[in-house]
């Protein structure tokens, strides 16, 4: 058998077709992914851990399954998993010194689903520590580099998963999105990234950050591939009481239905009135809206989501508050980094957290504890929860009149590594993605052009809760009419 064609790592459809038709074996495909990692990851640094041995064994099993006619939807396909999701027997670091040597005894729900579907996990990807960040610079180990420009960030917190797909090191990857952590790196790296409705994918085995916002989702080179990956990981799980017990739709059911009859809202707070918007990003998204209109959608640019600007403060109260509770578990007793030379039990615990956590994690734990503390609870946490209700109502009102919302994914293209040092400036990366998590909605980012320095721009589509089918329909129609997703970085 000849080695896999160059494009096989850049499309699930191609990789799977090649496996089905016997054009390549899974072992060849996985070998090609591992070779690609060996060739480029010294520069990209998408991976914290490469699981070569396990991957080659899984690929051999996949080839046997294909030969026996037992192939599943992802059988033999190399997939990367963000290092916030547990993998049995393979360390899961969360990008933190705290979990540098943590070996989970269990697979996460999504990890188990991937394995059942035949996917071959090639490694665990780098991320901002505990998923807190927008650039992957807050990894305790090393920053990941943007495959389009190695001096730039890949976005974050799922920067490793986005970069791995963009660089052709894995066909697909998994990320997690609490305030934009899938969509913003997808935009920065020129790939498709999707956050499902809150409750669509079980978080069992996802290391918790902000439990009312966290959701797991796919990265891929195309909308169709992202829908196929979501199909594998979605579904009810009794081990996550927030996972919805709803019938699972065929996410690809309406991919080819086109845009005729779809009403799309382009809220002005996300365009002309947006802070720090780069003109090239605005131009690319304007052009994308023109494409949506030319395909038969009606786009209304007069609508408003006036509370959008309050989403950032709501997020930076709710997410740190939940994080302060979730991260209380890292006490150096049960697992993880442990300082043991202190003067007392409390001294050990305080030093464990002092040396085990990075500054951004500490800032958020402290901010959350402050917002929840006596005297401030009503003014901060409760007020944020009430504004959250109002933000949800604004979206619900819009979705009573429109099928989709279109916005830029982020106000800028990828910025240089080290360029943003102020914590609040970093938070502004996510102004267009945070409201979606606050309202629990599904959304997708897909490539829609190139801005400053030839860096990718992302288009965000948002749908009503549980309507991923329409989300994928809109995204696929745009993608099919453009060729941005077929461009790849040269490494």
């Amino acid at each position: 058998m000849p080695p896999p064609a160059a494009g096989s790592l850049l499309s699930l459809a191609d990789a799977a077709a090649g496996l089905r038709d016997g054009r390549h074996s899974s072992q060849q495909l996985v070998r090609a992914a591992l070779d690609r990692i060996a060739a480029v990851d010294e520069r990209v640094r998408a991976f914290v851990t490469v699981t070569e041995e396990q991957a080659l064994a899984a690929a051999a099993d996949a080839d046997a399954a294909i030969a026996d006619g037992r192939a599943g939807p992802l059988t033999g396909v190399p997939v990367a998993v963000k290092d916030v999701i547990t993998t049995q027997g393979v360390r899961t670091t969360c990008g933190s010194r705290m979990l540098e040597r943590y070996i989970p005894v269990d697979d996460a729900f999504v990890t188990a689903r991937l394995k059942e579907a035949g996917a071959v996990i090639v490694g665990k990807t780098n991320m901002d520590e505990f998923a807190m960040g927008s650039s992957t610079e807050h990894s305790a180990f090393f920053p990941t580099h943007n495959p389009w420009a190695l001096d730039r960030v890949p976005g974050g917190s799922s920067g490793g998963s986005a970069a791995a797909v963009a660089a052709g090191e894995a066909v697909l990857s998994i990320g997690s999105d609490t305030g934009g952590s899938i969509r913003q790196p997808a935009a920065f790296c020129g790939v498709v990234g999707m956050k499902p409705t809150y409750g669509r994918v079980s978080r069992y085995g996802l290391v918790a950050f902000a439990s009312s916002l966290d959701q797991i989702g796919p990265f891929a080179h195309s909308v169709q591939d992202a829908a196929a990956l979501l199909q594998v990981i979605a579904g009810h799980d009794p081990c996550d009481s927030t996972s919805a017990d709803l019938p699972l739709p065929d996410f690809a059911a309406e991919l080819n239905r086109g845009l005729k009859g779809l009403r799309i809202a382009a809220p002005r707070e996300y365009f002309a009135e947006a802070e720090r918007m780069e003109p090239e990003v605005a131009a690319a998204v304007d052009e994308a809206i023109g494409v949506l209109e030319s395909l038969g959608a009606t786009v209304d640019r007069s609508v408003s989501l006036p509370l959008s600007k309050k989403a950032l403060p709501v997020y930076y109260i709710i997410a740190p508050s939940e994080a302060s509770a979730n991260l209380a578990r890292y006490d150096g007793v049960k697992y993880g980094y442990s300082y043991t030379d202190g003067a007392s039990m409390w001294d050990n615990m305080e030093k464990t957290r002092q040396f085990g956590f990075g500054d951004e994690v500490k800032r958020r734990i402290m901010l959350g504890a402050y917002a929840l503390s006596a005297g401030y609870y009503d003014a901060y946490y409760l007020q944020a929860q009430k504004v959250r209700t109002l933000i949800r109502r604004e979206f619900a009102d819009l979705f009573s009149r429109y099928h989709l919302i279109v916005t830029p994914t982020a106000p800028t293209v990828a910025f240089p590594i080290g360029a943003v040092s102020d914590p609040y400036e970093m938070y502004l990366n996510d102004i267009f993605t945070l409201p979606v998590n606050i309202a629990g909605l599904p959304a997708i980012s897909l490539p829609c052009g190139f801005g400053r320095a030839g860096l990718p721009v992302g288009l965000q589509l948002i749908a009503d809760s549980w309507d991923e089918v329409t989300l994928f329909r809109g995204a696929h129609a745009y993608e099919a009419a453009t060729d941005w997703h077929t461009r790849h970085p040269h490494l």
């Binding site: 409750g199 043991t340 039990m345 305080e350 500490k362 734990i365 402290m366 409760l382 007020q383 209700t389």
Partner: protein
Amino acid sequence: MDLTLQEVRHIAILTRIGMTDEDARRFQRDLSSILDHIRVLQEVDTEGVPPTANGADLLNVTDADSPRPSRSRDEVLANAPVREDDFFRVRAVIE
């Protein structure tokens, strides 16, 4: 509104995060600046608005009350920093 150094120290104790004086001053600056930005939330009129705890609209999800095997002790203790027999070993809590 600026957090005082004393408030930062107090939060550090609440969250059990050890820190040097220099750390405390850095966090005082960072957290004060972030709090300045999020204070705009007070401007929103939320009179009579109920709070929303999560995006799922789920309430009181319960498990069937049926016994099932738990994890083995070895699994539970697999990542223990210091294990002694079937226990997590810690320093004395009361000395």
